[in-house]
Protein backbone atom coordinates (compact mmCIF):
# COMPACT_ATOMS: atom_id res chain seq x y z
CA UNK A 1 0.00 0.00 0.00
CA UNK A 2 1.23 3.47 -0.85
CA UNK A 3 0.51 5.85 1.99
CA UNK A 4 1.85 9.09 0.57
CA UNK A 5 2.26 8.39 -3.09
CA UNK A 6 2.89 11.43 -5.28
CA UNK A 7 3.08 11.24 -9.02
CA UNK A 8 6.47 12.45 -10.22
CA UNK A 9 6.90 14.03 -13.63
CA UNK A 10 10.13 14.98 -15.39
CA UNK A 11 9.74 17.97 -17.69
CA UNK A 12 12.54 18.58 -20.14
CA UNK A 13 13.16 20.52 -23.27
CA UNK A 14 15.55 18.56 -25.44
CA UNK A 15 17.84 19.96 -28.07
CA UNK A 16 19.60 23.26 -28.42
CA UNK A 17 16.95 25.37 -30.05
CA UNK A 18 13.95 27.28 -28.90
CA UNK A 19 12.41 28.74 -25.82
CA UNK A 20 11.53 27.07 -22.61
CA UNK A 21 8.35 29.02 -22.08
CA UNK A 22 6.05 26.18 -23.06
CA UNK A 23 7.89 23.72 -20.84
CA UNK A 24 7.76 26.14 -17.93
CA UNK A 25 4.05 26.72 -18.29
CA UNK A 26 3.44 22.98 -18.24
CA UNK A 27 5.78 22.51 -15.27
CA UNK A 28 4.00 25.15 -13.18
CA UNK A 29 0.59 23.94 -14.32
CA UNK A 30 1.29 20.37 -13.29
CA UNK A 31 2.63 21.51 -9.93
CA UNK A 32 -0.63 23.35 -9.36
CA UNK A 33 -2.48 20.13 -10.11
CA UNK A 34 -0.58 18.39 -7.32
CA UNK A 35 2.20 16.68 -9.24
CA UNK A 36 5.84 16.69 -8.20
CA UNK A 37 7.55 18.14 -11.22
CA UNK A 38 11.26 17.80 -11.76
CA UNK A 39 12.13 20.59 -14.12
CA UNK A 40 15.41 20.25 -15.96
CA UNK A 41 15.19 23.05 -18.48
CA UNK A 42 16.80 23.50 -21.85
CA UNK A 43 19.52 21.71 -23.74
CA UNK A 44 19.06 18.21 -22.61
CA UNK A 45 20.70 15.27 -24.28
CA UNK A 46 18.89 11.94 -24.43
CA UNK A 47 21.40 10.48 -22.00
CA UNK A 48 20.86 13.21 -19.42
CA UNK A 49 17.08 12.93 -19.70
CA UNK A 50 17.10 9.16 -19.30
CA UNK A 51 19.47 9.25 -16.35
CA UNK A 52 17.45 11.99 -14.67
CA UNK A 53 14.28 9.96 -15.13
CA UNK A 54 15.89 6.93 -13.51
CA UNK A 55 17.47 8.79 -10.58
CA UNK A 56 14.27 10.68 -9.87
CA UNK A 57 12.23 7.51 -10.34
CA UNK A 58 9.58 9.42 -12.25
CA UNK A 59 6.28 8.02 -13.43
CA UNK A 60 6.06 10.37 -16.38
CA UNK A 61 8.42 12.13 -18.78
CA UNK A 62 7.10 15.18 -20.59
CA UNK A 63 9.19 16.50 -23.45
CA UNK A 64 8.64 19.87 -24.98
CA UNK A 65 9.04 19.32 -28.69
CA UNK A 66 9.66 22.01 -31.27
CA UNK A 67 10.19 20.16 -34.48
CA UNK A 68 10.20 16.78 -36.13
CA UNK A 69 13.93 16.79 -35.50
CA UNK A 70 13.15 15.90 -31.91
CA UNK A 71 11.78 12.57 -32.99
CA UNK A 72 15.24 11.07 -33.14
CA UNK A 73 16.05 12.44 -29.73
CA UNK A 74 12.84 11.14 -28.22
CA UNK A 75 13.51 7.72 -29.68
CA UNK A 76 16.98 7.86 -28.15
CA UNK A 77 15.52 8.64 -24.73
CA UNK A 78 13.23 5.63 -25.01
CA UNK A 79 16.14 3.45 -26.13
CA UNK A 80 18.32 4.67 -23.28
CA UNK A 81 15.60 3.94 -20.77
CA UNK A 82 15.28 0.42 -22.07
CA UNK A 83 19.04 -0.01 -22.20
CA UNK A 84 19.34 1.07 -18.58
CA UNK A 85 16.54 -1.21 -17.52
CA UNK A 86 14.33 1.65 -16.33
CA UNK A 87 10.89 0.93 -15.02
CA UNK A 88 7.83 1.72 -17.11
CA UNK A 89 7.50 5.43 -17.73
CA UNK A 90 4.64 7.24 -19.39
CA UNK A 91 6.15 9.29 -22.21
CA UNK A 92 4.37 12.45 -23.24
CA UNK A 93 5.26 15.12 -25.74
CA UNK A 94 3.91 18.58 -26.20
CA UNK A 95 4.46 21.39 -28.64
CA UNK A 96 3.80 22.21 -32.24
CA UNK A 97 3.04 18.80 -33.66
CA UNK A 98 1.42 18.28 -37.05
CA UNK A 99 -1.59 15.95 -36.93
CA UNK A 100 -0.13 13.65 -39.53
CA UNK A 101 2.89 13.00 -37.31
CA UNK A 102 0.87 11.78 -34.34
CA UNK A 103 0.74 8.11 -35.46
CA UNK A 104 4.51 8.11 -35.90
CA UNK A 105 5.04 9.35 -32.36
CA UNK A 106 2.61 6.81 -30.97
CA UNK A 107 4.24 3.99 -32.84
CA UNK A 108 7.56 4.93 -31.30
CA UNK A 109 6.21 4.51 -27.79
CA UNK A 110 4.95 7.97 -26.94
CA UNK A 111 1.68 7.60 -25.04
CA UNK A 112 0.33 11.11 -25.16
CA UNK A 113 0.71 13.85 -27.75
CA UNK A 114 -0.45 17.34 -26.74
CA UNK A 115 -0.39 20.28 -29.10
CA UNK A 116 0.40 23.76 -27.79
CA UNK A 117 -2.55 25.33 -26.12
CA UNK A 118 -3.88 22.11 -24.63
CA UNK A 119 -5.29 22.94 -21.19
CA UNK A 120 -2.90 21.64 -18.52
CA UNK A 121 -5.84 20.02 -16.77
CA UNK A 122 -6.25 17.75 -19.78
CA UNK A 123 -2.63 16.64 -19.48
CA UNK A 124 -3.09 16.06 -15.76
CA UNK A 125 -6.20 13.97 -16.32
CA UNK A 126 -4.40 11.96 -18.98
CA UNK A 127 -1.56 11.24 -16.57
CA UNK A 128 -3.87 10.24 -13.75
CA UNK A 129 -5.83 7.84 -15.88
CA UNK A 130 -2.78 6.28 -17.50
CA UNK A 131 -0.46 5.48 -14.65
CA UNK A 132 -0.95 2.46 -12.51
Amino acid sequence: MEQGKKVRVLVAKPGLDGHERGARVVAYGLRDLGFEVIYTGLRQSADIIAKAAIQEDVDVIGLSILSGAHMTLTRKVLDKLKEQDARDVLMLIGGVIPDEDVPKWKEMGVSGVFTSGTPIKEIGDFINSNIS
Binding site: K5, G34, S45, I48, E56, Q84
Partner: protein, 314 residues
Amino acid sequence: MDNELENLVNGIADGSVRSLAGMITCVENRTTGWLEAMKKIYSKTGHARVIGITGPPGAGKSTLTDRLTRTLLDKGLSVGVIAVDPSSPFSGGALLGDRLRMKDVSALEGVFVRSMATRGALGGLSLAARDVVKIMDAFGKDFILVETVGVGQDEIEVVKTADLVMVVCVPGMGDGIQAIKAGIMEIADIFVVNKADIEGADSVVKDIQAMLSMSTDKGKKTIQVLKTVATSGDGITELVDTLFQELEATKKKAGRQRDRIKEEIIGLLEREVSRLIHKRLDHNDKLDVSVDKILARECDPYSVVQEITDDYIK
Protein backbone atom coordinates in the same frame (compact mmCIF):
# COMPACT_ATOMS: atom_id res chain seq x y z
CA MET B 1 8.70 -7.41 3.86
CA ASP B 2 7.08 -7.78 0.48
CA ASN B 3 8.91 -8.95 -2.56
CA GLU B 4 9.32 -5.60 -4.19
CA LEU B 5 11.15 -4.07 -1.25
CA GLU B 6 13.20 -7.20 -0.75
CA ASN B 7 14.34 -6.90 -4.37
CA LEU B 8 15.18 -3.25 -3.89
CA VAL B 9 17.28 -3.99 -0.81
CA ASN B 10 19.14 -6.70 -2.69
CA GLY B 11 19.51 -4.44 -5.70
CA ILE B 12 21.12 -1.78 -3.57
CA ALA B 13 23.66 -4.29 -2.32
CA ASP B 14 24.39 -5.16 -5.97
CA GLY B 15 24.87 -1.52 -6.91
CA SER B 16 21.71 -1.16 -8.99
CA VAL B 17 20.90 2.49 -9.57
CA ARG B 18 17.30 1.63 -10.35
CA SER B 19 16.96 -0.07 -6.97
CA LEU B 20 18.49 2.91 -5.24
CA ALA B 21 15.93 5.18 -6.92
CA GLY B 22 13.08 2.77 -6.23
CA MET B 23 13.85 2.38 -2.56
CA ILE B 24 14.01 6.14 -2.08
CA THR B 25 10.53 6.37 -3.57
CA CYS B 26 9.17 3.67 -1.26
CA VAL B 27 10.65 5.34 1.79
CA GLU B 28 9.39 8.78 0.73
CA ASN B 29 5.92 7.39 0.17
CA ARG B 30 6.07 5.36 3.36
CA THR B 31 5.07 2.34 1.33
CA THR B 32 4.15 -0.52 3.62
CA GLY B 33 7.30 -2.40 4.51
CA TRP B 34 9.62 0.60 4.25
CA LEU B 35 10.64 0.33 7.88
CA GLU B 36 11.70 -3.28 7.47
CA ALA B 37 13.71 -2.29 4.43
CA MET B 38 15.45 0.49 6.37
CA LYS B 39 16.33 -1.97 9.11
CA LYS B 40 17.89 -4.26 6.54
CA ILE B 41 20.16 -1.63 5.05
CA TYR B 42 21.13 0.07 8.30
CA SER B 43 24.16 -2.09 8.98
CA LYS B 44 25.66 -0.93 5.68
CA THR B 45 25.47 2.74 6.59
CA GLY B 46 28.00 4.92 8.37
CA HIS B 47 30.56 5.29 5.65
CA ALA B 48 29.40 8.42 3.83
CA ARG B 49 30.29 11.94 4.83
CA VAL B 50 27.24 14.17 4.77
CA ILE B 51 27.44 17.86 3.92
CA GLY B 52 24.45 20.15 4.37
CA ILE B 53 24.26 23.17 2.08
CA THR B 54 21.75 25.82 2.97
CA GLY B 55 21.09 29.50 2.41
CA PRO B 56 18.57 31.91 0.97
CA PRO B 57 16.78 31.25 -2.34
CA GLY B 58 18.95 31.85 -5.37
CA ALA B 59 22.22 32.11 -3.43
CA GLY B 60 23.86 29.64 -5.80
CA LYS B 61 23.52 26.50 -3.68
CA SER B 62 22.86 24.22 -6.64
CA THR B 63 25.60 25.75 -8.76
CA LEU B 64 27.94 25.29 -5.80
CA THR B 65 26.74 21.72 -5.32
CA ASP B 66 27.51 21.06 -8.98
CA ARG B 67 31.06 22.38 -8.51
CA LEU B 68 31.64 20.45 -5.30
CA THR B 69 30.40 17.28 -6.93
CA ARG B 70 32.85 17.68 -9.80
CA THR B 71 35.75 18.32 -7.46
CA LEU B 72 34.92 15.30 -5.33
CA LEU B 73 34.57 13.13 -8.44
CA ASP B 74 38.01 14.27 -9.57
CA LYS B 75 39.34 12.96 -6.28
CA GLY B 76 37.85 9.58 -7.14
CA LEU B 77 34.95 9.90 -4.71
CA SER B 78 31.34 9.03 -5.50
CA VAL B 79 28.64 11.56 -4.71
CA GLY B 80 24.96 11.52 -3.88
CA VAL B 81 22.99 14.75 -3.96
CA ILE B 82 19.66 15.37 -2.25
CA ALA B 83 18.02 18.64 -3.30
CA VAL B 84 15.04 19.62 -1.19
CA ASP B 85 12.47 22.17 -2.36
CA PRO B 86 9.19 23.16 -0.76
CA SER B 87 5.88 21.60 -1.77
CA SER B 88 3.08 23.97 -2.66
CA PRO B 89 0.82 24.31 0.37
CA PHE B 90 -2.12 24.78 -1.97
CA SER B 91 -1.88 21.87 -4.38
CA GLY B 92 0.55 19.57 -2.59
CA GLY B 93 2.56 19.52 -5.80
CA ALA B 94 6.07 20.83 -6.18
CA LEU B 95 8.38 22.31 -8.75
CA LEU B 96 11.81 20.86 -8.19
CA GLY B 97 14.33 22.84 -10.21
CA ASP B 98 17.71 22.18 -8.69
CA ARG B 99 18.73 19.72 -11.40
CA LEU B 100 18.72 22.66 -13.79
CA ARG B 101 22.15 23.64 -12.47
CA MET B 102 23.50 20.13 -12.25
CA LYS B 103 22.46 18.55 -15.50
CA ASP B 104 25.87 17.62 -16.86
CA VAL B 105 27.31 16.45 -13.60
CA SER B 106 24.20 14.43 -12.77
CA ALA B 107 24.82 12.14 -15.72
CA LEU B 108 28.42 11.37 -14.80
CA GLU B 109 29.44 7.97 -13.50
CA GLY B 110 29.35 7.88 -9.71
CA VAL B 111 26.79 10.66 -9.31
CA PHE B 112 23.20 10.27 -8.20
CA VAL B 113 20.98 13.31 -7.82
CA ARG B 114 17.58 13.13 -6.20
CA SER B 115 15.08 15.97 -5.83
CA MET B 116 12.77 15.86 -2.84
CA ALA B 117 9.71 17.89 -2.02
CA THR B 118 8.97 18.85 1.57
CA ARG B 119 5.50 17.33 1.26
CA GLY B 120 3.57 19.52 3.59
CA ALA B 121 3.20 19.78 7.28
CA LEU B 122 3.90 16.21 8.19
CA GLY B 123 6.96 17.44 10.04
CA GLY B 124 8.51 14.36 8.63
CA LEU B 125 10.78 15.96 6.11
CA SER B 126 13.87 15.74 8.24
CA LEU B 127 13.19 12.10 8.98
CA ALA B 128 12.49 11.20 5.36
CA ALA B 129 15.56 13.09 4.17
CA ARG B 130 17.66 11.34 6.80
CA ASP B 131 16.39 8.04 5.48
CA VAL B 132 17.32 9.01 1.94
CA VAL B 133 20.81 9.89 3.18
CA LYS B 134 21.06 6.43 4.70
CA ILE B 135 19.92 4.72 1.53
CA MET B 136 22.58 6.55 -0.50
CA ASP B 137 25.10 5.76 2.22
CA ALA B 138 24.23 2.06 2.11
CA PHE B 139 24.52 2.17 -1.65
CA GLY B 140 28.14 3.18 -1.15
CA LYS B 141 28.26 6.90 -1.85
CA ASP B 142 31.38 8.47 -0.34
CA PHE B 143 29.86 11.92 -0.04
CA ILE B 144 26.27 13.03 0.25
CA LEU B 145 25.43 16.67 -0.37
CA VAL B 146 22.07 17.85 0.94
CA GLU B 147 20.77 21.15 -0.43
CA THR B 148 17.90 22.95 1.29
CA VAL B 149 16.60 26.48 1.19
CA GLY B 150 17.33 27.99 4.56
CA VAL B 151 13.90 29.31 5.32
CA GLY B 152 11.81 26.86 7.26
CA GLN B 153 12.49 25.12 10.52
CA ASP B 154 11.98 21.80 8.79
CA GLU B 155 14.69 22.54 6.27
CA ILE B 156 17.05 23.59 9.01
CA GLU B 157 16.37 20.33 10.81
CA VAL B 158 17.43 18.48 7.68
CA VAL B 159 20.85 20.01 7.35
CA LYS B 160 21.42 19.84 11.08
CA THR B 161 21.82 16.11 10.76
CA ALA B 162 24.76 16.53 8.39
CA ASP B 163 28.35 16.01 9.49
CA LEU B 164 29.06 19.52 8.35
CA VAL B 165 26.87 22.46 7.43
CA MET B 166 27.77 25.08 4.87
CA VAL B 167 25.71 28.26 4.98
CA VAL B 168 25.75 30.10 1.67
CA CYS B 169 25.36 33.88 1.69
CA VAL B 170 25.48 36.42 -1.11
CA PRO B 171 26.23 40.12 -1.44
CA GLY B 172 23.30 42.47 -1.57
CA MET B 173 21.09 40.67 0.87
CA GLY B 174 19.87 43.94 2.23
CA ASP B 175 21.04 45.00 5.61
CA GLY B 176 24.22 42.96 5.79
CA ILE B 177 23.56 39.54 7.16
CA GLN B 178 20.44 40.53 9.03
CA ALA B 179 18.55 38.99 6.17
CA ILE B 180 19.68 35.55 7.16
CA LYS B 181 17.21 33.99 9.45
CA ALA B 182 18.14 33.44 13.03
CA GLY B 183 18.64 29.77 13.56
CA ILE B 184 20.48 29.25 10.33
CA MET B 185 23.60 31.09 11.49
CA GLU B 186 23.87 28.92 14.56
CA ILE B 187 24.14 25.71 12.58
CA ALA B 188 26.95 26.82 10.25
CA ASP B 189 30.31 25.03 10.32
CA ILE B 190 31.54 26.96 7.29
CA PHE B 191 30.28 30.19 5.75
CA VAL B 192 30.45 30.64 2.02
CA VAL B 193 29.98 34.06 0.48
CA ASN B 194 29.05 33.10 -3.06
CA LYS B 195 28.72 35.47 -6.04
CA ALA B 196 31.97 37.07 -4.94
CA ASP B 197 32.13 38.54 -8.43
CA ILE B 198 29.38 40.92 -7.37
CA GLU B 199 30.12 44.08 -5.48
CA GLY B 200 29.71 43.92 -1.75
CA ALA B 201 31.11 40.43 -1.14
CA ASP B 202 33.89 41.71 1.10
CA SER B 203 31.51 43.61 3.28
CA VAL B 204 29.35 40.49 3.75
CA VAL B 205 32.49 38.58 4.74
CA LYS B 206 33.33 41.28 7.29
CA ASP B 207 29.78 41.28 8.66
CA ILE B 208 29.85 37.55 9.20
CA GLN B 209 33.29 37.65 10.77
CA ALA B 210 32.16 40.41 13.09
CA MET B 211 29.13 38.40 14.09
CA LEU B 212 31.23 35.30 14.73
CA SER B 213 33.74 37.20 16.83
CA MET B 214 30.93 38.41 19.06
CA SER B 215 29.67 34.91 19.64
CA THR B 216 29.92 33.58 23.16
CA ASP B 217 30.49 30.11 21.79
CA LYS B 218 34.26 29.63 21.54
CA GLY B 219 33.96 27.16 18.68
CA LYS B 220 32.17 29.75 16.55
CA LYS B 221 35.11 32.13 16.63
CA THR B 222 37.21 29.86 14.45
CA ILE B 223 34.59 29.28 11.77
CA GLN B 224 35.92 30.00 8.30
CA VAL B 225 34.31 32.45 5.93
CA LEU B 226 35.20 31.75 2.31
CA LYS B 227 34.44 33.56 -0.92
CA THR B 228 33.39 31.68 -4.05
CA VAL B 229 32.16 32.30 -7.55
CA ALA B 230 30.23 29.14 -8.22
CA THR B 231 29.62 30.01 -11.86
CA SER B 232 33.34 30.27 -12.68
CA GLY B 233 34.69 27.89 -10.07
CA ASP B 234 36.78 30.49 -8.25
CA GLY B 235 37.40 29.56 -4.66
CA ILE B 236 36.08 26.03 -4.98
CA THR B 237 39.45 24.35 -4.42
CA GLU B 238 39.93 26.31 -1.20
CA LEU B 239 36.39 25.47 -0.15
CA VAL B 240 36.92 21.76 -0.68
CA ASP B 241 40.23 21.87 1.21
CA THR B 242 38.52 23.58 4.13
CA LEU B 243 35.71 21.07 3.98
CA PHE B 244 38.13 18.19 4.35
CA GLN B 245 39.95 19.87 7.23
CA GLU B 246 36.71 20.55 9.04
CA LEU B 247 35.50 17.01 8.49
CA GLU B 248 38.70 15.73 10.07
CA ALA B 249 38.17 18.07 12.99
CA THR B 250 34.54 17.03 13.57
CA LYS B 251 35.50 13.39 13.43
CA LYS B 252 37.39 13.98 16.64
CA LYS B 253 34.29 15.26 18.37
CA ALA B 254 33.18 11.84 19.48
CA GLY B 255 30.07 13.04 21.26
CA ARG B 256 28.49 14.40 18.10
CA GLN B 257 27.73 11.00 16.68
CA ARG B 258 26.15 9.74 19.89
CA ASP B 259 24.08 12.88 20.32
CA ARG B 260 22.84 12.56 16.80
CA ILE B 261 21.67 8.99 17.30
CA LYS B 262 19.92 9.88 20.53
CA GLU B 263 18.23 12.78 18.82
CA GLU B 264 17.13 10.51 16.02
CA ILE B 265 15.63 7.94 18.37
CA ILE B 266 13.69 10.64 20.18
CA GLY B 267 12.52 12.11 16.89
CA LEU B 268 11.29 8.76 15.64
CA LEU B 269 9.63 8.07 18.95
CA GLU B 270 7.81 11.39 18.93
CA ARG B 271 6.41 10.62 15.52
CA GLU B 272 5.37 7.16 16.52
CA VAL B 273 3.64 8.41 19.65
CA SER B 274 1.87 11.10 17.68
CA ARG B 275 0.73 8.49 15.18
CA LEU B 276 -0.62 6.32 17.96
CA ILE B 277 -2.46 9.25 19.51
CA HIS B 278 -4.21 9.99 16.24
CA LYS B 279 -5.00 6.35 15.69
CA ARG B 280 -6.63 6.06 19.10
CA LEU B 281 -8.33 9.40 19.33
CA ASP B 282 -9.30 10.57 15.86
CA HIS B 283 -12.54 8.61 15.88
CA ASN B 284 -13.07 8.04 19.53
CA ASP B 285 -16.50 8.25 21.14
CA LYS B 286 -15.06 8.72 24.58
CA LEU B 287 -13.27 11.79 23.40
CA ASP B 288 -16.54 13.18 22.03
CA VAL B 289 -18.08 12.74 25.44
CA SER B 290 -15.22 14.70 26.97
CA VAL B 291 -15.63 17.42 24.36
CA ASP B 292 -19.31 17.75 25.28
CA LYS B 293 -18.37 18.11 28.93
CA ILE B 294 -15.77 20.72 28.13
CA LEU B 295 -18.25 22.66 26.02
CA ALA B 296 -20.65 22.65 28.95
CA ARG B 297 -17.77 23.83 31.13
CA GLU B 298 -18.21 20.78 33.33
CA CYS B 299 -14.66 19.80 32.65
CA ASP B 300 -11.49 21.32 31.16
CA PRO B 301 -9.07 20.19 28.43
CA TYR B 302 -6.14 20.01 30.85
CA SER B 303 -7.80 17.43 33.02
CA VAL B 304 -8.86 15.41 30.01
CA VAL B 305 -5.29 15.30 28.72
CA GLN B 306 -4.04 14.26 32.13
CA GLU B 307 -6.63 11.52 32.32
CA ILE B 308 -5.61 10.21 28.92
CA THR B 309 -1.88 10.28 29.62
CA ASP B 310 -2.40 8.61 32.99
CA ASP B 311 -4.32 5.96 31.15
CA TYR B 312 -1.48 5.46 28.62
CA ILE B 313 1.29 5.30 31.15
CA LYS B 314 -0.41 2.59 33.17
